[in-house]
Symmetry: C2
Subunit: 354 residues, 2 copies
């Protein structure tokens, strides 16, 4: 262990960022499993004081030496920073847990969702463990639980992704656009009206207020986006199903926080609505919210700020007894990024302490 | 013919309503095929003057006598009014065209989308022709064109439905909620924040501003909604495919006008992305909008107030060469209700005049 406490030393790289601040909140509220916690940021944020576990800690500038004595290093930084620095942490003896896209597709880097494939965390030939993207994380815990019972064969997914998935700039842009359209009741009935009023599009390719945008991430071959192929590749890797059929259409919606997914899942076995609801209700990390007759179903405004995946609208498909349709919502900043990283790091800390 | 002009006499029942006003707009802008146009409303709206085809006409109160001499009667009224009065119009010699839900599932009432199955309009044993609901109409023209080439086997649909699908009250509610959330930048990050601020939910079962609601229509067996089973039943009837597999999840989004659909369509034949784009581009009633690299894809803010279905994000499914994924948007008040009704009535008028 890097510290004298007998508990592992943790480094939080990217502590001053959006996901980093949720990481520190989670470290302060979850059971403590670390000795020293070292906060690391860019040259620019070095020296900044941050609260973690009730104490004030000073942010250190990212350098090779900062990893000396570190057992677990969590990375909540852009892809290129993670790609460059996670191997440096490993060279200094740390296990690296990366929330970015940098290592997700790398063959000898496990892609881990602790509720689904916790055992994979121990097999990390490069010393690095990655987590999936926020779109995958908004549905994989619930879908993984159903897969364990019925054997997943095919997924068709349509997403309802929040502005905060595009970062602080996305949130600011949506609020600015909402202020412009809020008072104008003539809007939205004629083509181009909204586009003419919202002003700056920010990080989005079309107006987001009073609109939906069927394009998230970056373009890849065949007309697909990186979010859509990411959902496919990451789901296959986490579930260990390299031949799983996945079709996704990713859409941005005018919501601040909370990604939702309409999921059609076809299985090897016959499904049952009541049994599927019970599986979801007792799965760690999932809350069943499925009494539509009393208006109970997951919506992003109810899940923002919470940890679990909320599952509802569970139905056996009318034309296929081996398929289920359901609707899932999860906080894209918590389970979708920071929480999954914290959970992976805790698995490694337990392994080191055992 | 009911009038002396040699052209059919038209009655517009529900002329003063939301869909009725779009009907009158369309009658004023499309090629005129009618002699007399008789506007009909409730007892309460009788005597109200309305503009149609450049003239002012007085609204008549609904009564059996109002259908005397009428050749074609369009109904844009609630289900129960249509159920009661369309047969009365038929008794008086008119062909009835109903936009409501009342006759959609009735076996000897054809369900017609003129771009897809115009021939069915001639076979109307009850004298009544129905149009599908706005959810089905936002995707059926594009899907029907692809079916004609590839042979549809299965549809998985997730919808993004506008507030105006819930009527004027839905639109007013969304605007009122947007005014309340517009200026509050702390909102949307914690569970319940939005619910605490939006105030009146209006016709919706949850807040709509800064949210999405996975519940439209009314509840039916198995956890499904009437919109979801309607999409299945209506698509089967219009395409003449009683065994078609359809799974839909219908979701309300904070948009004023314009229903969108993420569609996964599996076919009997192998598909091709470029060919599918060309089929859509040359199909009447469809506009292809599919250059995502230059930010061209359908969004509701661009389609509101236009007649066609806009199609984009056309992709061959990565794991099934016989399937396509695409995104469609259409104006739920125009093609989704008034325009389809006008088109059906024009087919009947042409038959009567021929």
């Amino acid at each position: 262990m890097g510290s004298g406490s007998g508990l592992p030393t943790l480094a939080v790289v990217g502590a001053t960022g959006a996901v980093g601040s949720v990481l520190l909140d989670l470290l302060s509220t979850r059971r403590n499993v670390y000795g020293e916690v070292r906060l690391v940021g860019s040259e620019r944020s070095a020296g900044r004081g941050l609260q973690v576990r009730g104490d004030r800690a000073e942010t250190l500038a990212l350098s090779p030496e900062v990893f000396s004595g570190v057992d677990v290093a969590m990375f909540a930084v852009p892809d290129e920073v993670a790609a460059a620095w996670a191997p440096v942490a490993v060279e200094h003896g740390a296990a690296a847990v990366d929330a970015s896209q940098a290592f997700r597709a790398v063959q000898d880097v496990p892609l881990v969702v602790p509720e689904v494939n916790p055992e994979r965390v121990r097999d990390r030939p490069r010393g690095i463990v990655a987590g999936p993207g926020c779109a995958t994380l908004s549905m994989i815990v619930a879908v993984g639980a159903l897969h364990a019972r019925y054997g997943l064969r095919e997924l068709v997914i349509a997403s309802y992704q929040a502005a905060s998935g595009a970062g602080r700039h996305g949130v600011d842009t949506l609020y600015a656009q909402l202020e412009k359209v809020g008072g104008d009741r003539a809007l939205g009935n004629r083509s181009g009206d909204v586009r003419g009023v919202v002003g700056d599009l920010g990080p989005f390719p079309a107006p987001l207020a009073l609109n939906v945008i069927p394009w998230t991430g970056t373009g890849v071959d065949g007309g697909w986006t990186s979010d859509e192929t990411g959902l496919r590749d990451e789901t296959r890797k986490v579930l260990g199903l390299p031949g799983l059929k996945v079709s996704a259409t990713c859409v941005r919606v005018p919501v601040i926080t909370g990604h939702s997914m309409a999921v059609h899942a076809a299985f090897a076995e016959r499904t049952d609505q009541r049994e599927a609801q019970e599986i979801l209700a007792r799965s760690p990390g999932v809350v069943l919210c499925d009494s539509p007759e009393t208006h109970e179903f997951p919506t992003p405004s109810d899940v923002a700020g919470t940890d679990p995946t909320w599952a509802g609208r569970v139905r056996r498909s009318l034309d296929d007894p081996r398929a289920l349709d359901l609707f899932l919502s999860g906080d894209n900043l918590r389970k979708g990024a920071a929480l999954n990283t914290v959970q992976i790091a805790e698995l490694i800390a337990a392994e080191l302490t055992a």
